[in-house]
Amino acid sequence: MEVSLEETQKDRVEQLVDYIMKWCLWQFHSRAWDRERQNEGILTKTRQLLCEEPVELETPADKCYWVDAVILARDFKATYPWLATMEKKDIKSLMQGLKERMDFLTITGSLNEELTDPKY
């Protein structure tokens, strides 16, 4: 049976999610607004690195996102050989899917009741 492109992407997103969940901590900051910023900052830079695009390194916060992104991009490439076979536009689409899934698991679908606490 032939696997559709959509199913392939879904399966690959889950593999990437599993990797992040097992080996990273940056996605679990304690408040929703922090998680939004972390997911956006690190996954955007990871996508840029995987697509060989320039990465902004203006602020100390940018550098922090970047170091996590460099490690993640390296690990993704080393763990999932299929990444090397993908076109850049497909990597972008994959990373967009990954960002949406991570936002759901850690923010919008999260059962963590402390995420919306207004103070640290």
Binding site: M21, K22, W23, L25, W26, F28, H29, S30, D34, P60, A61, K63, C64, W66, V67, D68, V70, I71, D75, F104, L105, T106, G109, S110, L111, N112, E113, E114, Y120
Partner: protein, 520 residues
Amino acid sequence: MPYHKFKCSECIPEREKHAVTKGPGEDLTSCLPLGYLNTIPGTISERGCAYCGAKHVIGAPMKDVIHMSHGPVGCTYDTWQTKRYISDNDNFQLKYTYATDVKEKHIIFGAEKMLKQNIIEAFQAFPYIKRMSLYQTCATALIGDDIGAVAQEVMEEMPDVDIFVCNSPGFAGPSQSGGHHKINLAWLDQKVGTFEPEITSKYVINYVGDYNIQGDTEVMVDYFKRMGIQVLSCFTGNGSYDSLRGMHRGHLNVLECARSSEYICNELRVRYGIPRLDIEGFGFKPLSESLMKVAMFFGLEKEAQAIIDEEIARWKPELDWYAKRLQGKKVCLWPGGSKLWHWANVIHEEMGVEVVSVYTKFGHQGDMEKGIARCQEGALAIDDPNELEGIEAMKTLKPDIIFTGVRPGEVAKKLRVQYLNAHAYHNGPYKGFEGWVRFARDIYNALYSPIHQLSGLDISKDEIPTEVGFLTRQMISDVNINKEETTPIEERPYTGDYDCVTKLRGKTYPRSSEPLSDAV
């Protein structure tokens, strides 16, 4: 939601939402217990109080400080710094404990006068110590003693001393974690920015959320220094009071235990613009990547890579020796907070053990998110368990070993389940490459302890085999090793020193050759 109901807690139905099983297909949107809530009456929690969390966990590792509790002597004694957070100044902070010894009469007439006298006497008894942290307790908070005002009075009379006031009585939160929160913010509000540290490198970090358990902090600081990084302060393991007042001059906050100290990192980011980078000192892969991340922030990749290569070449064969003998052993990972998630995946990946349960006594839902995300399918995750639930879980899951604290550890031993001290360690440090091997060695020694094997025999009813001689650990463990497989010659048990920390003290490091103009 895949809640798990303990038989022993059927009479406490609220407990059901505090335990979940990570079943097939479950993720964090369907599998997360409640956490960091007030303990349910009748459940006999094993948590500590908010005063304990502030003093015993966070404040007391500071090394050049008199840690004074204003309250009954029992509060002080029970938080005497017994967690093996050593220091390089002859463990001053571990040797003594100080209390105002509040009695019933003080509850009626007030204890502020006595507090002032105690503070002055303590400084006079230790004239070379000029710093104090002062902790409120339940009794003195309830009678309204103003410890801040008393501290201020003393500082005016004794201008060479400085006192930090921590207002975190025992009732100030559901668990010790409430105290972590309070002392983080109190330190930031009162002390950060009141001291200008000397900057000696272009690369300056605060190392936050490590408490130098058996030398963990010193091992990590050694790596940073070898890269040419100045570790401005350590919050709070082996940390000095004044260096922690200078945290505002750091360029990067490197955070280990988010549960105990993310608050100060988050606020340093908001107030001083210092970014927060979460790292892990446990496990070869997480540690290597963590060192590399810190290095990349400053452009020191070559320095970091040299350290990583050297350390892995030295210690990997020894980790491999143990990993081969730990494969498939079942572990209940039952620490206090952060080791739940620091260890949940990497002990499986690098040592081959199976994590069948995770629990946290005082963690928040955020800790459980990390722990559940990292542990394997089928694991039972429990928030704030009581002793009976722990016993039931051990009987059901049949683990080979428990990583936990002393109290539940002793319970485990009575059930003939081996335990390792996850809080204070058996033969740490466990951080660092060598430390990770020491951890593997401790697990191995526990699992294959000859006396543990013998203790399974009951001489009153079991037949005692007389034809078998004494079995060493390796004779027991190597039954599981495939003899057909060629063992790489370099694989070997731990060959490091009994004490791997003291030699780091007094070591000299290369100073940064970069100009310091941008550093301050």
